[in-house]
Symmetry: D2
Subunit: 362 residues, 4 copies
């Protein structure tokens, strides 16, 4: 087993709450626990692509009392620029993977901790396989779509933010007799929508895993009205499509469009079908950058320490995970090959139905 | 001075945090302090228009430990339907003011506490003048555009929510090297934008009271970049118009539009001018319904008690207010005739400039 | 299998955040899902002891938009008065278990949902065995000392509150160069102290499961000082004893004592050993009553629905639980016979040590 | 008027939320607005006493996105060691004021911004008078006991924290049928207790400005019970004394005492008089170090900019203040000579009585 003297740490993909707590834990464990150097790589794999390489030695003095309490990542991140299919300035694309691998060599790294979601970890693993990098992955994703771990960093905080948004919307919905539609993140999976919807007392929750009919949604809202309720809360995951299954083009930076997003589409359809006064809120980036919840900070600490321990043991090509109150680790190949989606017959969907929440089902 | 035995309380206009604390304080003071009945009128003046009148006696048991901590208004409210120009189902409009006044008589009210902003209080005053109603007003508006009072209910909480949103956006902006644009409420005045922008560390704040040039905004963002800053926070009040002074049509419920709102417009223009990656967040109704801040609950309590005291003294046609650490009251006619806008040379704008914040000025 | 028509719900033991969300979910599921009556029993088993029995039919209208967001329990609770050893007014004790069982009969209950910690659930189970009550248990405890379930209601919120307290104490500790000692709840187990201590960046965490030496604590604080750190954060679980293993008598309601509690004792010993300026904060009841976190509300909803489903299936004498992302259920007898304590070699203690946190070990 | 090239900034007295936002605003205005150097002095006047002087040039890079959001003071502070009566290591005291003045000269300062409460500002003014220092004061105190300014930094955040504590205690009080006593800060004035007590729905508020009788408190609690209320919330300012007017010795670091503090005393007396189950919470340092509220950050920004503007105008020996929505300034001599106490007949006490809150009056 090769001796470890210097490891790199990078964050990749969309940012979320808890990343700084992961970086702090991993750097502390590496420096104080094993006497290694810890190098922070800037902007995910971009830092390894840049020449000179963009990276700096992590110093424990950076981790003052407040950094672990702060959202985002001090290393920066990016969710653009797969090095195997890298966008060039002339509009074409190129495979720049060897440059990234070279960056790892230039930094003299003996191992790399990659903090990312399934997409980022898959790319990092491909780089590691190709270049012989000693990689350990730490799962982070507000979408919670990673299998083999009960916890991914960032998800708990995102659910708290989305639930808090429902806590804000409920009184104003009731005061004005409105249907409030909240659009939350979730590119492929509807976990934020389902968990926050249950926790925040939603009446309707639409997720990409469960097909919906607007008639069913409208019927629920009419039924609430018949029971004397003057308002309703509707949560929609951004990955939900139109009733016919087509995506609603999201507006980014203007341009002529039909709907402002799936939340807008659903609100419009509800208004047409029920005559109710509807309002839309798109929670967007508020879900990413807030102060991490205690739970995210705790799990970040566990994962950061465990990932460094794996490196010390030479256990590469693995992802740290949490299962049954224990820190475990699983093969990265398996972790990125399987995704965790809402089971339409699973415990969360069952709970929602049991509370009378409409999941849009016919 | 006519004896008081029964008073009505209504909330009118957009809801905000702190209304329940006002209702609680006024009802308690009336019932326990003076032995009167307190009648809660539903949905603002709509409750007085309906037949039978929609209202119910307020019972102190309703005001359990948590109601004052809850956003919104248990009485309901509306910001549609000026009784002097009431929209009928056939699309025409009618003066239904006499019906509202009759509603007051049908309830046997001796006085009325109206909780509203400048628009609502102006309508209530007109009704009071026409019908001889004994009216006392309590100022509430998240826009903070009322003169003669240093405090209106709802504003403090809205500023906390908007500042908290900037606290959430800053880390994600820094992590992704983005320009984050936050659109906040403020129909005529930019107070939320200016106060939250300063408190939340914004780099650019655009308000309707100060004309802006996109070139100035872009220059600020370029200057930050030149200093090594990789992100920027921009706050825009919803009342800001396009550079040429025209309103951006807000999308409500779909339909073909050019921009999703002023925030979208500003973000698009910044992206064009600087090439920066921009993202938009429209805070919307999250600003209204949250748990009221301690300050809003305190002021709500002061105003509720003082309004009832005014009724007991026969001091009608007045609005309670706060000035120099004292509860005062001012003529309603004056209160609704003057509005509080941002003074481009005032202390807040001066503070913003002193902190290097760009107000969009050429 | 006997037909179910009416079930009772009670909360027992110390209150915590999330109980109302459990009650709401169980009542909704019973009433709307199965068409049963749901009876809320007041003050735990006291409501069944009282004559007339203190209980009331739960009405879904009680569960307005805000109740599930509210801490505490609308049913009331108590952690005094084991019916098998009930304190009488003359100071003696009596077995009043038959009266409780009779109360169940008087209410015409077909089953009972008991929401409690290990002590309460053990008593309820003994009553059920003796009287043939159809009991299902739901785990709640801020101490997190129940085995067989990864989640007990109230714990997640308590950890968030304790972590938030550390977030408040860190800046003032650093500003004044102080050692801040935070005493948190945990009668037998130190989970809150350990989890919040890690999440909140504590330097020292003392828990009852791991013996400590003041010399080790003092050495850690001296080491921090030598590294240039001017402050330290110390978390102590209330169940920790003096170094010699004796309990520190807690003051309740005055009286001559030596120390105000274990936090006071530890702070005094640190001050003696290091000369550092120390301050104590006893978090106390602030850990119980706050707004439940999204996670507690979500788990409360899952448990409430699942408990009612168990009753419908005739699966009595069981406790609902959460394991590996699934709602399961386990025999009550086992659940109350085993307790979940901190494993001194487990993942949390390992993480703490890996982050340089002193656990007081010699 | 002497040219300004270098100013010092120090924080003195107990820390509070918002100090970093003041330092940031003042440093930015000095450096960017006027091109001066800004020197941060460590630990209040201690930094000027130390040799070498403990101070460092403030660099705008220190004021990243998160510093203004963070409680405490990066400069450190102290509330011990009046330089006119300085405690020496042999237990005697000495006048070391000339050394402090010399420290100002050694740093080459042209002016000094002192951020403090009435005690600190009085000492700083005496130093300024003696040594010819160009002093401008900025008011900060969680006690809110400064006259001539409607706002002092730190107070708004402290009231939010204390109100939040009542929000946490109310549900647990109601769940367990308890009287909860909350002891809040306030060395001479009871403003936190009174404002937070009103905002948080307290039933009894005891402040040092209004003499109390335990009989009156007990009668209030009995009256609530008679009305069917099973709990009560009591807020006590730490400056309140025993009924006979003597101070309750606060325990700091152990030692034999009779009561743990005034909260403990009041809780014990209530328990004796009413038989109610009482619990005490001492909020303590949690009130100082939290994230500053938007309001505190806004006012901090205004005060920091205005203080530097005063220096630029040569307007020394003055304190910045806030009055009627404007930033003003007042003579320091007057500011420190007058204190703002609760007026027993003023608007807040009147509001409290109007809401049925017992102020302990016979």
């Amino acid at each position: 087993m090769a001796e470890i003297r210097r490891i790199g740490i990078l964050t990749s993909g969309g940012d979320c709450a808890g990343l700084n707590a992961v970086i702090r834990a991993a750097a502390f464990r590496a420096i104080e626990g094993y006497g290694w150097e810890a190098i922070g790589i800037r902007q995910g794999t971009h830092g390894l692509l840049a020449r000179p390489v963009e990276a700096e030695a992590l110093d424990l003095a950076m981790f003052s009392g407040t950094l672990m309490r702060t959202g985002g990542t001090i290393l920066g991140t990016t969710n653009k620029g797969d090095p195997f299919d890298y966008p060039l300035s002339d509009g074409s694309r190129a495979d720049r993977s060897e440059e990234v691998i070279e960056g790892y060599r230039l930094l003299g790294l003996d191992a790399l901790i990659g903090i990312g979601g399934d997409g980022s970890l898959a790319i990092l693993r491909r780089l590691a396989q190709q270049g012989g990098l000693n990689l350990v992955g730490i799962p982070k994703t507000i979408d919670n779509d990673l299998a083999f771990t009960e916890v991914s960093i960032g998800y708990a905080s995102a659910v708290e933010v989305a639930t808090d948004a429902l806590d804000h919307l409920q009184p104003t919905a009731a005061s004005h007799s409105r249907v409030m539609v909240l659009e939350v993140m979730g590119r492929d999976a509807g976990h934020i929508a389902l968990d926050a919807g249950i926790a925040g007392g939603a009446d309707v929750i639409l997720v990409p895993e469960i097909p919906y009919r607007i008639e069913a949604v409208a019927a629920k809202i009419e039924a609430l009205k018949a029971q004397g309720r003057n308002f309703a809360l509707v949560v929609v995951a951004e990955a939900v499509r139109t009733e016919s299954g087509e995506p609603v083009t999201r507006r980014q930076g203007g341009g002529t469009v039909t709907y402002g997003g799936i939340g807008d589409y659903i609100a419009s359809r509800i208004a047409e079908a029920t005559g109710a006064e509807t309002r839309i809120t798109v929670l967007g980036h508020l879900q990413r950058g807030g102060m991490p919840s205690a739970r995210d900070r705790l799990m970040a600490s566990i994962f950061g320490v465990h990932a460094v321990d794996l490196i010390a043991r030479g256990a590469f090509d693995r992802m740290v995970a949490w299962s049954d109150r224990r820190a475990i680790d699983v093969p990265l190949a398996e972790a990125v090959a399987t995704s965790h989606r809402i089971d339409p017959q699973g415990p969360l969907a069952h709970t929602a139905r049991g509370l009378g929440i409409c999941l849009g089902e016919a």
